[in-house]
Protein backbone atom coordinates (compact mmCIF):
# COMPACT_ATOMS: atom_id res chain seq x y z
CA UNK A 1 0.00 0.00 0.00
CA UNK A 2 1.32 3.45 -0.89
CA UNK A 3 1.81 6.16 1.72
CA UNK A 4 -0.94 8.16 0.04
CA UNK A 5 -3.33 5.24 0.35
CA UNK A 6 -2.39 4.79 4.00
CA UNK A 7 -3.05 8.46 4.70
CA UNK A 8 -6.38 8.33 2.91
CA UNK A 9 -7.33 5.17 4.83
CA UNK A 10 -6.81 7.08 8.07
CA UNK A 11 -9.04 10.01 7.07
CA UNK A 12 -6.71 12.38 5.22
CA UNK A 13 -7.65 13.56 1.74
CA UNK A 14 -4.56 13.42 -0.47
CA UNK A 15 -5.97 14.18 -3.89
CA UNK A 16 -9.24 14.91 -5.64
CA UNK A 17 -11.70 12.03 -5.75
CA UNK A 18 -15.37 11.61 -6.57
CA UNK A 19 -17.18 13.49 -3.81
CA UNK A 20 -14.13 15.64 -3.06
CA UNK A 21 -13.35 18.05 -5.88
CA UNK A 22 -12.28 21.70 -6.05
CA UNK A 23 -14.50 24.35 -7.62
CA UNK A 24 -13.62 25.51 -11.16
CA UNK A 25 -10.90 28.11 -10.63
CA UNK A 26 -12.13 30.90 -12.96
CA UNK A 27 -15.63 30.92 -11.48
CA UNK A 28 -14.25 30.61 -7.96
CA UNK A 29 -11.82 33.57 -8.24
CA UNK A 30 -14.65 36.03 -8.84
CA UNK A 31 -17.48 34.47 -6.85
CA UNK A 32 -18.49 36.83 -4.08
CA UNK A 33 -19.43 34.94 -0.88
CA UNK A 34 -17.47 31.94 -2.12
CA UNK A 35 -18.15 28.41 -3.26
CA UNK A 36 -18.47 25.19 -1.31
CA UNK A 37 -15.88 22.46 -1.15
CA UNK A 38 -17.29 19.13 0.00
CA UNK A 39 -14.87 16.43 1.10
CA UNK A 40 -17.06 13.34 1.19
CA UNK A 41 -15.18 10.74 -0.89
CA UNK A 42 -16.81 7.60 0.50
CA UNK A 43 -20.20 6.20 -0.40
CA UNK A 44 -22.29 6.53 2.76
CA UNK A 45 -26.07 6.65 3.26
CA UNK A 46 -26.49 10.38 3.83
CA UNK A 47 -27.96 13.30 1.90
CA UNK A 48 -28.68 16.39 4.05
CA UNK A 49 -26.25 18.46 1.93
CA UNK A 50 -28.61 17.96 -0.97
CA UNK A 51 -31.92 18.24 0.90
CA UNK A 52 -30.85 21.37 2.76
CA UNK A 53 -29.35 23.24 -0.21
CA UNK A 54 -31.61 26.23 -0.94
CA UNK A 55 -30.46 26.65 -4.54
CA UNK A 56 -30.15 23.05 -5.70
CA UNK A 57 -26.40 23.37 -6.08
CA UNK A 58 -25.88 19.95 -4.51
CA UNK A 59 -27.51 17.97 -7.29
CA UNK A 60 -30.17 15.34 -6.52
CA UNK A 61 -28.88 11.92 -5.50
CA UNK A 62 -29.89 8.90 -7.60
CA UNK A 63 -29.08 6.77 -4.60
CA UNK A 64 -28.73 8.03 -1.01
CA UNK A 65 -25.28 6.42 -0.88
CA UNK A 66 -23.97 8.56 -3.73
CA UNK A 67 -21.19 11.03 -3.11
CA UNK A 68 -22.36 14.64 -3.45
CA UNK A 69 -21.95 16.37 -6.80
CA UNK A 70 -22.06 20.14 -7.05
CA UNK A 71 -23.44 22.36 -9.77
CA UNK A 72 -21.13 25.28 -9.07
CA UNK A 73 -23.15 27.66 -11.24
CA UNK A 74 -25.86 27.46 -8.54
CA UNK A 75 -23.74 27.61 -5.37
CA UNK A 76 -24.05 30.94 -3.55
CA UNK A 77 -21.61 30.13 -0.73
CA UNK A 78 -24.45 30.45 1.82
CA UNK A 79 -22.84 27.77 4.01
CA UNK A 80 -26.12 26.12 4.98
CA UNK A 81 -24.55 22.75 4.14
CA UNK A 82 -21.59 23.67 6.36
CA UNK A 83 -24.02 23.94 9.27
CA UNK A 84 -26.08 20.87 8.36
CA UNK A 85 -23.58 18.20 7.25
CA UNK A 86 -23.39 15.53 9.99
CA UNK A 87 -19.87 14.68 8.83
CA UNK A 88 -18.64 18.29 9.04
CA UNK A 89 -17.36 17.76 5.50
CA UNK A 90 -18.50 21.04 3.87
CA UNK A 91 -16.34 24.17 3.76
CA UNK A 92 -16.97 27.43 1.92
CA UNK A 93 -14.05 29.38 0.50
CA UNK A 94 -14.46 33.00 -0.62
CA UNK A 95 -11.46 34.03 -2.71
CA UNK A 96 -12.83 37.54 -3.29
CA UNK A 97 -12.41 38.45 0.39
CA UNK A 98 -9.91 41.09 1.47
CA UNK A 99 -6.73 41.88 -0.37
CA UNK A 100 -4.83 39.70 -2.86
CA UNK A 101 -3.23 37.59 -0.14
CA UNK A 102 -6.31 36.82 1.95
CA UNK A 103 -9.40 34.65 1.65
CA UNK A 104 -12.42 33.94 3.85
CA UNK A 105 -13.29 30.42 4.92
CA UNK A 106 -16.60 29.35 6.47
CA UNK A 107 -15.85 26.33 8.66
CA UNK A 108 -18.02 24.18 10.94
CA UNK A 109 -17.12 24.36 14.63
CA UNK A 110 -18.43 22.33 17.59
CA UNK A 111 -15.68 22.80 20.17
CA UNK A 112 -14.95 24.93 23.19
CA UNK A 113 -13.93 27.62 23.85
CA UNK A 114 -16.48 29.57 21.86
CA UNK A 115 -14.92 31.54 19.03
CA UNK A 116 -15.25 35.31 19.29
CA UNK A 117 -15.26 37.76 16.44
CA UNK A 118 -11.95 39.56 15.97
CA UNK A 119 -9.97 36.88 17.74
CA UNK A 120 -6.80 35.30 16.35
CA UNK A 121 -6.96 31.51 16.02
CA UNK A 122 -4.70 28.70 14.88
CA UNK A 123 -5.56 27.33 11.45
CA UNK A 124 -5.16 23.56 11.22
CA UNK A 125 -4.60 21.42 8.15
CA UNK A 126 -6.12 17.99 7.54
CA UNK A 127 -3.61 16.40 9.91
CA UNK A 128 -4.19 18.93 12.65
CA UNK A 129 -0.91 20.78 12.17
CA UNK A 130 -0.96 24.53 12.74
CA UNK A 131 -0.21 26.06 9.33
CA UNK A 132 -1.23 29.68 9.83
CA UNK A 133 -2.90 32.23 12.06
CA UNK A 134 -6.37 33.38 11.11
CA UNK A 135 -8.77 36.04 12.32
CA UNK A 136 -12.38 35.31 13.15
CA UNK A 137 -14.64 37.62 11.18
CA UNK A 138 -18.06 36.32 12.07
CA UNK A 139 -19.69 33.48 13.99
CA UNK A 140 -23.19 32.22 13.26
CA UNK A 141 -25.30 29.26 14.31
CA UNK A 142 -27.59 28.87 11.28
CA UNK A 143 -29.61 25.87 12.47
CA UNK A 144 -29.58 26.84 16.18
CA UNK A 145 -28.30 23.36 16.93
CA UNK A 146 -24.88 24.08 18.45
CA UNK A 147 -22.98 23.68 15.20
CA UNK A 148 -21.40 27.04 14.58
CA UNK A 149 -20.23 28.34 11.24
CA UNK A 150 -17.06 30.33 11.80
CA UNK A 151 -15.97 32.79 9.15
CA UNK A 152 -12.23 33.15 9.38
CA UNK A 153 -9.81 35.22 7.35
CA UNK A 154 -6.86 33.10 6.25
CA UNK A 155 -3.87 33.31 3.88
CA UNK A 156 -5.25 32.74 0.39
CA UNK A 157 -2.56 30.26 -0.63
CA UNK A 158 -3.60 27.89 2.18
CA UNK A 159 -7.30 27.51 1.45
CA UNK A 160 -6.77 23.97 0.18
CA UNK A 161 -4.86 23.05 3.34
CA UNK A 162 -6.80 24.69 6.17
CA UNK A 163 -9.77 22.64 7.32
CA UNK A 164 -10.23 23.56 11.00
CA UNK A 165 -9.46 26.18 13.57
CA UNK A 166 -8.29 25.97 17.12
CA UNK A 167 -9.29 28.74 19.47
CA UNK A 168 -6.23 29.32 21.63
Amino acid sequence: MTDKQKLFNSGILTEERPGAVSPPRDLWENKKNGLVIIECPQRIPCNPCHTSCPTGAVVPFDDINDQPQIDYSKCTGCARCVAVCPGLACFVVDLTWGDESRALMKLPYEMLPSPEEGRQVDCLNREGNVVAKGTIVRVTEPMHDKTKVVQVEVPKDLVMDIRAIKVV
Binding site: N9, G11, C40, I44, P48, G87, G128
Partner: protein, 326 residues
Protein backbone atom coordinates in the same frame (compact mmCIF):
# COMPACT_ATOMS: atom_id res chain seq x y z
CA UNK B 1 -50.99 -11.45 36.91
CA UNK B 2 -50.52 -8.41 34.72
CA UNK B 3 -51.47 -8.75 31.10
CA UNK B 4 -50.71 -6.68 28.03
CA UNK B 5 -51.23 -6.88 24.28
CA UNK B 6 -47.65 -6.07 23.37
CA UNK B 7 -44.69 -6.16 25.70
CA UNK B 8 -41.61 -4.32 24.50
CA UNK B 9 -38.39 -5.27 26.22
CA UNK B 10 -35.88 -2.46 25.91
CA UNK B 11 -36.49 1.28 25.69
CA UNK B 12 -33.87 2.28 23.14
CA UNK B 13 -34.55 3.50 19.60
CA UNK B 14 -35.95 0.14 18.46
CA UNK B 15 -38.13 -0.44 21.52
CA UNK B 16 -39.52 3.11 21.65
CA UNK B 17 -40.35 2.93 17.95
CA UNK B 18 -42.01 -0.47 18.30
CA UNK B 19 -44.04 0.72 21.29
CA UNK B 20 -45.20 3.89 19.54
CA UNK B 21 -46.17 2.01 16.41
CA UNK B 22 -48.07 -0.76 18.21
CA UNK B 23 -49.81 1.85 20.40
CA UNK B 24 -50.85 3.82 17.33
CA UNK B 25 -52.93 0.83 16.25
CA UNK B 26 -54.71 0.73 19.61
CA UNK B 27 -52.68 -2.03 21.22
CA UNK B 28 -52.18 -1.92 24.95
CA UNK B 29 -48.39 -1.71 25.28
CA UNK B 30 -46.06 -2.35 28.23
CA UNK B 31 -42.44 -1.31 27.83
CA UNK B 32 -39.71 -2.25 30.29
CA UNK B 33 -36.28 -0.66 30.35
CA UNK B 34 -33.46 -1.76 32.65
CA UNK B 35 -31.80 1.65 32.69
CA UNK B 36 -32.97 4.58 34.81
CA UNK B 37 -34.02 6.55 31.71
CA UNK B 38 -35.64 5.72 28.41
CA UNK B 39 -33.80 6.31 25.18
CA UNK B 40 -31.09 3.65 25.24
CA UNK B 41 -27.85 4.72 23.60
CA UNK B 42 -29.57 7.67 21.94
CA UNK B 43 -29.36 9.77 25.09
CA UNK B 44 -25.54 9.72 24.83
CA UNK B 45 -25.39 10.53 21.14
CA UNK B 46 -24.44 14.17 20.94
CA UNK B 47 -23.45 13.95 17.27
CA UNK B 48 -25.74 14.50 14.31
CA UNK B 49 -27.09 11.43 12.58
CA UNK B 50 -26.45 10.50 9.00
CA UNK B 51 -29.13 9.24 6.67
CA UNK B 52 -32.06 10.91 4.98
CA UNK B 53 -34.18 13.79 6.17
CA UNK B 54 -37.14 11.42 6.65
CA UNK B 55 -35.07 9.41 9.11
CA UNK B 56 -34.05 12.55 11.01
CA UNK B 57 -30.62 12.97 9.42
CA UNK B 58 -28.79 16.00 10.74
CA UNK B 59 -30.50 15.68 14.15
CA UNK B 60 -28.45 14.84 17.22
CA UNK B 61 -29.19 11.45 18.79
CA UNK B 62 -30.41 12.74 22.14
CA UNK B 63 -32.88 15.01 20.31
CA UNK B 64 -34.21 11.98 18.44
CA UNK B 65 -34.76 10.30 21.80
CA UNK B 66 -36.73 13.34 22.99
CA UNK B 67 -38.86 13.23 19.83
CA UNK B 68 -39.61 9.53 20.32
CA UNK B 69 -40.56 10.07 23.97
CA UNK B 70 -42.79 12.95 22.98
CA UNK B 71 -44.51 10.73 20.41
CA UNK B 72 -44.94 7.99 23.00
CA UNK B 73 -46.39 10.36 25.59
CA UNK B 74 -49.24 11.03 23.17
CA UNK B 75 -50.61 7.53 23.69
CA UNK B 76 -52.64 6.71 26.79
CA UNK B 77 -52.32 2.99 26.14
CA UNK B 78 -48.58 2.71 26.84
CA UNK B 79 -47.15 1.87 30.25
CA UNK B 80 -43.41 2.32 30.67
CA UNK B 81 -41.28 0.98 33.49
CA UNK B 82 -37.70 2.15 33.89
CA UNK B 83 -35.13 0.59 36.20
CA UNK B 84 -36.97 -2.61 35.33
CA UNK B 85 -35.24 -5.69 33.98
CA UNK B 86 -36.96 -8.56 32.19
CA UNK B 87 -35.19 -11.44 33.89
CA UNK B 88 -36.76 -14.43 32.22
CA UNK B 89 -39.20 -15.80 29.67
CA UNK B 90 -41.07 -18.97 30.46
CA UNK B 91 -41.94 -20.79 27.22
CA UNK B 92 -44.44 -23.16 28.87
CA UNK B 93 -46.94 -20.39 29.68
CA UNK B 94 -45.47 -17.32 27.92
CA UNK B 95 -44.91 -15.42 31.15
CA UNK B 96 -42.16 -12.81 31.47
CA UNK B 97 -40.68 -12.11 34.89
CA UNK B 98 -39.45 -8.64 35.74
CA UNK B 99 -37.55 -6.98 38.58
CA UNK B 100 -38.17 -3.32 39.15
CA UNK B 101 -35.60 -1.41 41.19
CA UNK B 102 -34.21 -3.74 43.88
CA UNK B 103 -37.27 -5.20 45.47
CA UNK B 104 -40.33 -5.24 43.26
CA UNK B 105 -40.85 -8.46 41.39
CA UNK B 106 -43.73 -9.04 38.99
CA UNK B 107 -44.94 -11.38 36.32
CA UNK B 108 -46.59 -10.31 33.14
CA UNK B 109 -48.30 -12.26 30.41
CA UNK B 110 -48.10 -10.48 27.07
CA UNK B 111 -49.91 -11.61 23.94
CA UNK B 112 -46.95 -10.55 21.81
CA UNK B 113 -43.39 -9.54 22.66
CA UNK B 114 -40.88 -7.30 20.89
CA UNK B 115 -37.36 -8.05 22.07
CA UNK B 116 -35.39 -4.84 21.66
CA UNK B 117 -32.65 -5.64 24.13
CA UNK B 118 -29.82 -3.96 22.27
CA UNK B 119 -26.21 -5.01 22.41
CA UNK B 120 -23.22 -5.60 24.64
CA UNK B 121 -19.75 -4.24 24.16
CA UNK B 122 -16.91 -6.58 23.27
CA UNK B 123 -13.52 -6.33 24.89
CA UNK B 124 -10.16 -7.72 23.85
CA UNK B 125 -7.69 -9.32 26.24
CA UNK B 126 -4.35 -7.69 27.05
CA UNK B 127 -2.16 -7.58 30.17
CA UNK B 128 -3.53 -5.30 32.90
CA UNK B 129 -6.87 -4.78 31.20
CA UNK B 130 -8.45 -5.11 34.64
CA UNK B 131 -7.02 -1.77 35.78
CA UNK B 132 -9.36 1.11 36.57
CA UNK B 133 -9.14 3.43 33.58
CA UNK B 134 -9.89 0.74 31.01
CA UNK B 135 -13.40 1.58 29.86
CA UNK B 136 -15.85 0.52 27.21
CA UNK B 137 -16.77 3.36 24.87
CA UNK B 138 -20.36 3.17 26.13
CA UNK B 139 -19.25 3.86 29.69
CA UNK B 140 -17.11 6.80 28.58
CA UNK B 141 -20.10 8.24 26.73
CA UNK B 142 -22.35 7.71 29.75
CA UNK B 143 -19.92 9.50 32.06
CA UNK B 144 -19.38 12.43 29.70
CA UNK B 145 -22.68 12.91 27.97
CA UNK B 146 -25.23 11.69 30.52
CA UNK B 147 -23.59 12.60 33.83
CA UNK B 148 -21.27 15.40 32.72
CA UNK B 149 -18.21 13.75 34.23
CA UNK B 150 -14.88 14.05 32.46
CA UNK B 151 -13.51 10.49 32.44
CA UNK B 152 -9.83 11.46 32.41
CA UNK B 153 -7.27 13.76 30.84
CA UNK B 154 -5.69 11.74 28.06
CA UNK B 155 -7.09 8.74 26.26
CA UNK B 156 -6.03 5.95 23.95
CA UNK B 157 -8.95 4.83 21.79
CA UNK B 158 -8.90 1.21 20.67
CA UNK B 159 -10.85 0.76 17.45
CA UNK B 160 -11.56 3.14 14.56
CA UNK B 161 -15.08 2.05 13.79
CA UNK B 162 -17.83 4.65 13.99
CA UNK B 163 -18.09 4.34 17.77
CA UNK B 164 -14.33 4.79 18.28
CA UNK B 165 -14.21 7.76 15.92
CA UNK B 166 -17.34 9.48 17.24
CA UNK B 167 -16.44 8.98 20.90
CA UNK B 168 -12.94 10.34 20.18
CA UNK B 169 -14.54 13.47 18.78
CA UNK B 170 -16.84 13.74 21.81
CA UNK B 171 -13.85 13.30 24.15
CA UNK B 172 -12.13 16.25 22.47
CA UNK B 173 -15.34 18.25 22.89
CA UNK B 174 -15.25 17.39 26.59
CA UNK B 175 -11.71 18.71 26.88
CA UNK B 176 -9.97 15.32 26.93
CA UNK B 177 -6.85 14.90 24.84
CA UNK B 178 -6.94 11.92 22.46
CA UNK B 179 -3.38 10.56 22.27
CA UNK B 180 -4.25 8.27 19.40
CA UNK B 181 -6.60 5.71 17.93
CA UNK B 182 -5.35 2.21 17.15
CA UNK B 183 -7.07 0.13 14.49
CA UNK B 184 -6.20 -3.47 13.63
CA UNK B 185 -7.32 -3.22 10.02
CA UNK B 186 -5.49 -1.26 7.31
CA UNK B 187 -8.21 1.35 7.08
CA UNK B 188 -10.71 2.95 9.44
CA UNK B 189 -13.86 0.89 9.86
CA UNK B 190 -16.12 3.87 10.48
CA UNK B 191 -17.19 6.55 8.05
CA UNK B 192 -14.24 8.32 6.44
CA UNK B 193 -15.69 11.74 7.32
CA UNK B 194 -15.71 10.83 11.03
CA UNK B 195 -12.02 9.98 10.75
CA UNK B 196 -11.31 13.25 8.89
CA UNK B 197 -13.05 15.15 11.72
CA UNK B 198 -10.65 13.89 14.38
CA UNK B 199 -7.59 13.85 12.12
CA UNK B 200 -7.88 17.58 11.44
CA UNK B 201 -7.91 18.15 15.19
CA UNK B 202 -4.55 16.44 15.40
CA UNK B 203 -5.47 12.92 16.48
CA UNK B 204 -3.18 10.25 15.01
CA UNK B 205 -4.81 7.06 13.75
CA UNK B 206 -2.46 4.10 13.91
CA UNK B 207 -3.63 1.59 11.31
CA UNK B 208 -2.59 -2.06 11.69
CA UNK B 209 -1.83 -1.41 15.35
CA UNK B 210 -3.24 -2.81 18.54
CA UNK B 211 -2.89 -2.30 22.27
CA UNK B 212 -0.52 -4.87 23.75
CA UNK B 213 -0.46 -3.78 27.39
CA UNK B 214 -1.91 -1.35 29.88
CA UNK B 215 0.60 0.21 32.27
CA UNK B 216 -0.11 1.01 35.90
CA UNK B 217 -0.17 -0.36 39.44
CA UNK B 218 -3.40 0.90 40.93
CA UNK B 219 -4.90 2.43 37.80
CA UNK B 220 -3.97 3.15 34.20
CA UNK B 221 -0.96 5.42 33.78
CA UNK B 222 -0.07 4.43 30.22
CA UNK B 223 -0.59 2.09 27.30
CA UNK B 224 1.72 0.24 24.95
CA UNK B 225 0.76 -0.12 21.31
CA UNK B 226 2.44 -2.11 18.56
CA UNK B 227 2.09 -2.75 14.86
CA UNK B 228 0.54 -6.07 13.84
CA UNK B 229 1.22 -8.24 10.81
CA UNK B 230 -1.21 -9.89 8.39
CA UNK B 231 -1.97 -12.59 10.96
CA UNK B 232 -2.64 -9.94 13.63
CA UNK B 233 0.57 -10.84 15.49
CA UNK B 234 2.40 -7.92 17.14
CA UNK B 235 5.68 -7.06 15.44
CA UNK B 236 8.26 -4.29 15.51
CA UNK B 237 8.78 -1.50 17.95
CA UNK B 238 6.54 -1.03 20.96
CA UNK B 239 5.34 2.52 21.51
CA UNK B 240 4.37 3.82 24.94
CA UNK B 241 1.65 6.39 25.30
CA UNK B 242 1.14 8.47 28.39
CA UNK B 243 -2.61 8.09 28.99
CA UNK B 244 -4.94 7.68 31.94
CA UNK B 245 -7.86 6.23 29.97
CA UNK B 246 -7.95 3.30 27.60
CA UNK B 247 -11.26 3.31 25.78
CA UNK B 248 -12.36 0.11 24.07
CA UNK B 249 -14.45 0.42 20.93
CA UNK B 250 -13.86 -2.95 19.35
CA UNK B 251 -17.37 -3.96 18.49
CA UNK B 252 -20.71 -5.05 19.86
CA UNK B 253 -22.60 -8.32 20.18
CA UNK B 254 -26.39 -8.63 20.08
CA UNK B 255 -27.99 -9.18 23.50
CA UNK B 256 -30.09 -12.24 22.94
CA UNK B 257 -30.37 -14.28 26.15
CA UNK B 258 -34.16 -13.95 26.30
CA UNK B 259 -34.43 -15.06 22.67
CA UNK B 260 -32.39 -18.19 23.46
CA UNK B 261 -34.51 -18.79 26.53
CA UNK B 262 -37.69 -18.51 24.51
CA UNK B 263 -36.42 -21.21 22.16
CA UNK B 264 -36.28 -18.96 19.12
CA UNK B 265 -34.27 -20.43 16.28
CA UNK B 266 -30.85 -18.78 16.50
CA UNK B 267 -28.26 -18.46 13.74
CA UNK B 268 -24.69 -17.22 13.76
CA UNK B 269 -24.28 -14.39 11.26
CA UNK B 270 -20.79 -12.80 11.30
CA UNK B 271 -22.08 -9.71 9.43
CA UNK B 272 -24.61 -9.15 12.23
CA UNK B 273 -21.89 -9.67 14.84
CA UNK B 274 -22.96 -12.89 16.49
CA UNK B 275 -25.92 -15.11 17.20
CA UNK B 276 -29.22 -13.58 16.17
CA UNK B 277 -32.79 -14.86 16.01
CA UNK B 278 -33.88 -16.13 12.64
CA UNK B 279 -36.61 -13.69 11.61
CA UNK B 280 -38.85 -12.87 8.69
CA UNK B 281 -39.11 -9.55 6.89
CA UNK B 282 -41.57 -8.31 9.51
CA UNK B 283 -39.03 -8.99 12.29
CA UNK B 284 -41.02 -11.98 13.59
CA UNK B 285 -38.85 -14.77 14.97
CA UNK B 286 -39.49 -18.52 14.65
CA UNK B 287 -41.61 -18.13 17.81
CA UNK B 288 -45.03 -16.96 16.67
CA UNK B 289 -45.46 -14.48 19.54
CA UNK B 290 -41.96 -12.98 19.56
CA UNK B 291 -40.48 -10.23 17.39
CA UNK B 292 -37.00 -8.77 17.48
CA UNK B 293 -35.75 -5.28 16.58
CA UNK B 294 -32.65 -3.12 16.76
CA UNK B 295 -29.18 -4.28 17.69
CA UNK B 296 -30.64 -7.43 19.30
CA UNK B 297 -31.54 -8.46 15.74
CA UNK B 298 -28.00 -7.79 14.51
CA UNK B 299 -25.62 -4.88 15.03
CA UNK B 300 -26.55 -1.94 12.78
CA UNK B 301 -27.16 1.55 14.08
CA UNK B 302 -29.95 3.65 15.51
CA UNK B 303 -31.61 4.67 12.24
CA UNK B 304 -32.13 1.08 11.17
CA UNK B 305 -33.10 0.15 14.73
CA UNK B 306 -35.94 2.69 14.55
CA UNK B 307 -37.13 1.33 11.21
CA UNK B 308 -36.98 -2.25 12.50
CA UNK B 309 -38.88 -1.19 15.62
CA UNK B 310 -41.62 0.41 13.50
CA UNK B 311 -41.92 -2.72 11.39
CA UNK B 312 -42.06 -4.97 14.46
CA UNK B 313 -44.66 -2.69 16.05
CA UNK B 314 -46.94 -2.75 13.01
CA UNK B 315 -46.49 -6.47 12.63
CA UNK B 316 -47.47 -7.24 16.25
CA UNK B 317 -50.55 -5.06 15.84
CA UNK B 318 -51.49 -6.94 12.66
CA UNK B 319 -51.02 -10.27 14.40
CA UNK B 320 -53.47 -9.02 17.04
CA UNK B 321 -55.98 -8.13 14.35
CA UNK B 322 -55.38 -4.39 14.65
CA UNK B 323 -53.38 -3.81 11.54
CA UNK B 324 -55.15 -0.74 10.19
CA UNK B 325 -55.38 2.79 11.46
CA UNK B 326 -58.97 3.97 11.95
Amino acid sequence: MRETDVMVIGGGPAGLSAAAEAASFGCDVTLVESDLALGGQLIKQTHKFFGSKDERAGTRGFKISELLLEELSGYGNVKTYTNCTATGYYPEDGVVTCVRAEDEYFKIKPKKIVMATGAQERLIPFPNNHLPGVYGAGAVQTLMNVYGVKPGDKVLMVGAGNIGLIVSYQLIQAGVQVAGIVEAMDKVGGYWVHAAKVRRLGVPIYLRHTIVEAIGEQYVTGAVIQEIDERFQPQGERKSLDVDIICMAVGLSPTCELLWQAGCEMVFVPELCGYVAQRDRNMRTSHKDIWVAGDAAGIEEASSAMVEGRIAGVSTARALGRGTHE
